[in-house]
Amino acid sequence: MDIFLTRLISGMTAGSVYAMIALALVVVFRSSATINFAQGEFALFTTYVSWWLTQHGWNIWLTLVPALGLGFVMCAVAERFLIRPVRKRDETAVLIVALALFTGLNGLAGWIWGSDDKVYPRLVPIGDDSFLALGGARLYYDSIFVVLSLVLVVGALSLVLNKTGLGLQMRAVATNPESASLCGIKVGRIFMISWGLAGVIGSLAAAILVPVLPPGQLGLPGMFHMLIFGTVAALLGGLDSVKGAVVGGLSLGVGLAMINGYGSFFGGSISLTVALVVIVVVLGLKPNGLFGSRRLERV
């Protein structure tokens, strides 16, 4: 029982992170109907900036301000000047630009800060006794913090989408960019803002996940698997659905924790293979995902 609880907790923790990355992808997909494969590397870059500032004596919480701001600016600028000009051509061109950003940002981070792993401080410091005993399992405070952050992000995003004028415009563009433009919406501006918001969410997710998930340090290859899991989570939930991203992320996190925990006969971790199976099954059976309404493929 306590082993089950322990796995459930670690699954929820990882799942919350996947869900946050999935949210970033969903926000982009809702506006420009594409997957930003460079989302993880944008986040990686801003997390390096945050780490670099802590090396200069900044408080870790304080570094989030410029880091998240940079995430917004970088993604918005990338959308405006790199993605939008090639959008009309075809999706291959968009994908290639995203892959270029992917390699470029990763390389740039390595160029500036070196390829050795960095110790990134925890946002919530924990000691040996910073946990709640829960039926024999240990619920560490940082797990609570990760889940709470997800709740906060989802809450804020839902609030923006459903209660503000900007959100109304974002929902209109998500439904049909052309009709939205006929309503007088500056669609390009909404694209930029959406990408920027995704950049903020992604940067926040990265800052939270680096100390919590293995390997626990900030390294160049760190975000790639997170992006894969985030993508699978978003696809599972439905690429245009906020609710889907959350459900997809949490079920993926818990599912992987259980499979890797109990499925020891597989001999070690098979997370990525499971991700492959999930992608193929979702695409085969329910291409819209669990809660999505729009397919990735544009006819």
Partner: protein, 365 residues
């Protein structure tokens, strides 16, 4: 939209492609003496480069071998991603599959290295067919995700099957097992030179085969499927068969490259050589060299091997990644048809090759 008849679509906003209005370009008729002579010059130049490569020091030759292997792998990718438009990010899996097929057959089953090539190609062809199945229903980014997952899962699967593959420890092919066959005349000490020539020969053969396929009816059907599946199937093209077979053939070509790669590198680490990052590298090479061009994969192969080597001293070894990004974006914005296509376009300002019969279906480039 470009029409199906034109294998090299040149997006010209205003006027049709033939720049007859300008005084500049010389018109050369395909198959004429001048055209033949030009072709001969190019062939001689290429032969000279190849022979020069054969006389290089072992390290330089090794780099050329590596570039040729990547050119082959990219050629395979071009076959499906370029010509049929089925985007694949995970071709690293085929590279790895070919490499491990050769590795396993040589190490565990005592086969000679060269005899494993057909098996590597066959295995990759079959897996390619399998991967092609999702492509029947989906395309674009969706397909990219399936292939991404394939590329991501491959190293993990290899690690799981450790009885066969050596798992995470990797697999080492002893040098003596890679002895050149007796009939080749190469000794064990000349293994690297043997591999160089073997790779060049296979690259040339594949090049010729791909060239002929692309200009055949089958190639025309591939173009048609890329541009408009509905119209293609309405014209009597079996779209499903085209997609499946081209994915299979694509896998087989990249698998061939993988097999050669195993012989080249001698020790296989799935986590090192065959991650999805390698798949992305192949895609970068293709786009940079030029999709749907014959020379593109060769340029791409040279680029993805030589650029990282020559820039390894700059920017803590990360300069090549940044450079690739910049070049890639420049290519997408300035020359969407890649370096090969861009050069061809520039060349058309000076020389235009036309078919003898203007009404014939265009096979030229």
């Amino acid at each position: 939209m470009t029409t199906v008849q034109s294998p090299t679509p040149t997006p010209t906003p205003e006027r049709p492609a033939r720049p007859a209005a300008r005084s500049g370009p010389r018109v050369v008729v395909r198959g004429s003496g001048a055209h033949r002579a030009a072709q001969a010059v190019v062939l001689v130049l290429l032969a000279a480069v190849v022979i020069w490569g054969g006389s290089l020091d072992p390290f330089g030759q090794g780099q050329l071998t590596r570039a040729a292997i990547f050119a082959l792998a990219i050629m395979g990718l071009n076959f499906t991603t370029g010509y049929v438009g089925l985007l694949s990010v995970g071709h690293s899996a085929f590279l790895g599959l070919g490499a491990y097929t050769t590795g396993i057959l040589v190490v565990n089953y005592n086969q000679t290295a060269i005899s494993t090539i057909p098996w590597a190609m066959l295995v990759c062809f079959l897996v390619g067919l399998l991967v092609g199945i999702p492509a029947l229903r989906i395309r674009g980014l969706y397909l990219a995700m399936v292939t991404l997952a394939l590329g991501v899962a491959f190293p993990e699967v290899v690690a799981r099957l450790d009885g066969l593959t050596g798992g995470a420890e990797g697999m080492t092919i002893r040098r003596t097992l890679l002895r050149p066959p007796d009939w080749s005349g190469f000794t064990l000490g000349e293994k690297d030179a043997w591999l160089y020539w073997l790779t060049i020969v296979l690259l040339v053969v594949t090049f010729v085969v791909v060239r002929n396929v692309i200009s055949s009816r089958y190639g025309l059907a591939m173009h048609a499927v890329r541009q408009d599946e509905v119209a293609a199937s309405a014209s009597g093209i079996n779209v499903a068969a085209i997609k499946l077979v081209s994915f299979g053939v694509s896998g087989a070509i990249t698998g061939l490259a993988g097999s050669l790669f195993a012989m080249y590198i001698g020790s296989l680490f799935a986590e090192g050589s065959f991650t999805v990052l390698a798949g992305i590298t192949l895609l970068i090479g293709l786009v940079l060299g030029g999709e749907r061009t014959l020379a593109g994969p060769i340029i791409g192969g040279l680029a993805v091997v030589l650029i990282p080597y020559y820039t390894s001293g700059i920017g803590q070894g990360q300069a090549s990644a940044v450079l690739f990004a910049v070049v890639l974006i420049a290519v997408i914005f300035l020359a969407p048809e890649g370096v090969a296509g861009g050069v061809a376009r520039l060349a058309r300002r000076w020389v235009v090759v036309v078919d003898k019969r203007p009404e014939s279906i265009g096979r030229g480039r």
